[in-house]
Symmetry: C2
Subunit: 168 residues, 2 copies
């Protein structure tokens, strides 16, 4: 169950003051970062943080290269955006990511006060938004973003599938 | 409900090949880091990662100073320990922290493959181990550590209480 799914839904994108073309461009930007991760042999996930239409932080998955299990795309993008703003809060910002966030990343999204989370592919195994602990639906959650899923899903899912198929 | 509570329980500490004195020393080390955070005006939480009795990473809470919402004590200690080992996995290691981890940190503990988590004070509002999403009890959890709670609880809880009372 997705809280909001605006795949091909112009009304939902319009309600955010954003055309679907613009939404697709932001999803494509995150996908480029996921492709970068794949080329480096990391699980292909990419993320960007956007403030009023401007990308203020990007990240790709790189726990192996950095020897850091917390170096998921979302964490990298959030840390970069916070460095840009000189703040530990990203109020009013959007996070675009190619895969449904895990519990660690969903927790970071909450701590950062991200206003809107957009993710492409869902992750029944490791996801913590529409799967597993469904973190933003917990009564104790500190802050929950609006959640939009599905823009760019096919490309993001294909990249992950291709990556894991090549490793079998 | 705590999965394991070994406060004053010599049998539990013995079963880990550890005296209660040793356990208290490790909890005191984490508490010193929490006190450091308090002196810097950060919520007082401290953490260490221990491998075969040796501290290989420490951290204190510092999201404000670092402009990084992910800079919780556990994340800092895990990143430091991973840098020490040159690996993104901390197999066989123990993490000692003064407060029940939040969802972000519990997720990081899972990703890092921490073998045993020891926390002092419980956190009904923000905790994600014995409260809220109870992350390690989720069927989709990737890796769950053994959990021990309560050693050093009184001191860790008093430090937090004192910190928040001074800010009211």
């Amino acid at each position: 169950m997705r809280e909001n799914c605006w795949q091909g839904n112009r009304n939902a994108s319009s309600s955010l003051g954003m055309t679907l073309d613009h939404a697709r461009r932001l999803a494509a930007h995150a996908l480029e970062l996921a492709q970068k991760a794949a080329l480096l042999g990391e699980v292909p996930v990419g993320a960007i943080v956007v403030q009023q239409g401007r990308v203020i932080g990007e990240g790709h998955n790189q726990p192996r290269a950095l020897h850091d299990p917390t170096a998921h795309a979302e964490i990298m993008a959030i840390r970069a955006a916070c460095a840009t703003l000189g703040s530990d809060r990203l109020m009013g910002c959007d996070l675009w990511v190619t895969l449904e966030p895990c519990a660690m990343c969903a927790g970071a999204i909450s701590h950062a006060r991200i206003a809107r989370l957009h993710y492409a592919a869902s992750d029944p195994k490791g996801g913590a938004v529409e799967h597993g602990p469904r973190l933003f639906q917990q009564p104790t959650v500190l802050h929950k973003p609006e959640v939009y899923a599905g823009v760019g899903e096919a490309d993001a899912a294909a990249l992950l599938k291709q990556f894991f198929a090549a490793r079998r």
